[in-house]
């Protein structure tokens, strides 16, 4: 065979192989194309074909090569078992070593078909289109529940980043600043404020030109208190301010996270 011909073959295989999800997919394909009965797979023949493909896979050096090799070892094991002289066994329900593989193939085929079905279903479905503009009118009263949403840590970090950017304190001063605040202090500050009034807003704690470190401390204090379950927080949908509430105030009605 000429060099040219070899190259052609390789290209042809490449196209085919790319469409295999994994060893089971390949095996299923082999069984189907050779039109053999899955319950009675001629192991020797299938192994030969499989190893043929495998050699091309090795040339391609796919990421999941190990999985293909693993299947090859299973096939070779089955083949070698089949070659051994059959022991006379009086047990009628003799276990077919191929059974496990066949069960796996059938199971895999089942979900492959289900996947095709889902594909058709999703293609058939008109997407639910949400109108882009939010038609709901805002109620600007801050006490209105609709204006507040529950918070995730990511939201908290977002609000925190906003504040950091807003406060254009000169960072250079930090170098010579003596830190006269700690996270513990800030926890105490939040607790004290909560003793005075049942709830307040995060922005109230931040003063203009506050050093970044101090904002960080307040933020850490906030996270700590949320973790301990002492306070609950929620965020304004438009303005991004964070509302801090004493948890006991909420009682069992856990509207805020």
């Amino acid at each position: 065979m000429s060099q040219n011909n070899d190259n052609l073959n390789e290209v042809k295989y490449k196209v085919k192989i790319d469409s295999f999800e994994g060893p089971l997919d390949l095996l299923l394909h082999l069984v189907k194309t050779s039109e053999i009965n899955i319950y009675d797979i001629p192991i020797a023949e299938i192994t030969k074909q499989y190893l043929n493909y495998l050699s091309f896979l090795i040339i391609l050096n796919l990421d999941n090569l190990t999985e293909f090799v693993e299947m090859a070892t299973i096939l070779i094991l089955l083949k070698s078992k089949a070659m051994l002289p059959v022991e006379l066994d009086f047990d009628e329900n003799e276990f077919d070593p191929r059974q496990e593989l066949i069960t796996k193939l059938l199971e895999y085929q089942k979900y492959k078909m289900a996947a095709d079905l889902l594909d058709v279903m999703s293609e058939d479905t008109v997407p639910l289109i949400n109108r882009t503009a939010d038609l709901k009118l805002f109620n600007l009263d801050d006490n209105e529940d609709v204006n507040w949403k529950q918070l995730s840590v990511l939201d908290l970090i977002g609000a925190f980043a906003d504040l950091l950017n807003k406060n254009n304190h000169n960072d250079m001063e930090l170098e010579i600043l003596l830190y006269n605040f700690t996270v513990e202090d800030k926890i105490k500050l939040i607790n004290d404020t909560l003793n005075e009034k049942d709830s307040f807003n995060y922005f109230e704690l931040i003063k203009e030109n506050m050093p970044k470190m101090e904002i960080v401390c307040i933020f850490l204090a906030l996270l700590e208190l949320v973790k301990k379950g002492i306070i609950a927080v929620r965020q304004h949908k438009i303005f991004g301010d964070i509302h801090i509430v004493k948890k006991e105030k909420l009682g069992l009605n856990n509207n805020f996270s």
């Binding site: 060893p23 078909m113 889902l118 594909d119 997407p127 109108r131």
Partner: protein
């Protein structure tokens, strides 16, 4: 209040919510029983079936929603640059179907069926919010369990996970030579 008025309220409710509305919510707002609501919505659905309407009411993800009719959708699609649903890749779909039919299921169990590492597909599905972590299996290592989401139901236009086509009807026992 007359039935017509309730029907009008439910209709405007669906319009305003702009998303799937659960029966529970409709119950809260109208104060009607579930049966009555279903009856009224059934009537509304019939009326929207008429050709003069471009919208229809669908029962989806355990609630109701307005939806553009399938035959009308193509007329808007181009002008508004609306996307049809993203088609999922073959491997992602296989993983999704395994999760859908065998949930709750661990990553290991999924990979056992597929015989391939499924990290990427699972990650992709989590990103698309089609599956979610539902808990941990109480075996050694406490692996995460995955299940489908409400978004999954919306994506495939299903009312309930039980409405998935029965997998046994796929003649799994027979080996097709297609």
């Amino acid at each position: 209040m007359s039935i017509n008025k309730y029907s009008a309220i439910i209709e405007s409710l669906l319009y305003y919510e702009n998303d799937v509305v659960s029966i529970k919510k409709i119950e809260q707002i109208t104060g009607l029983t579930e049966d009555k609501i279903k009856e009224i919505i059934g009537q509304l659905m019939l009326e929207y079936q008429d050709d003069i309407h471009g919208l229809m009411i669908t029962e989806i993800a355990g609630g109701y929603s307005f939806q553009i009719k399938k035959e009308i959708f193509p007329y808007l699609k181009e002008y508004y640059n609306l996307k049809s649903q993203n088609r999922l890749s073959k491997s992602v779909l296989t993983v999704l179907s395994i999760v859908a039919y065998k949930q709750p299921i661990t990553k290991n169990e999924i990979e056992d069926i597929r015989g391939v590492n499924s990290d990427n597909s699972i990650k992709k599905l989590l990103e698309l919010n089609l599956i979610k972590i539902t808990g941990r299996k109480s075996i050694v290592g406490k692996p995460l369990l995955y299940g489908t989401t409400t978004e999954f139901l919306k994506f495939f236009n299903l009312n309930d996970i039980k409405d998935l086509p029965k997998i046994d009807e796929l003649k799994s026992e027979e080996f097709s030579l297609k």
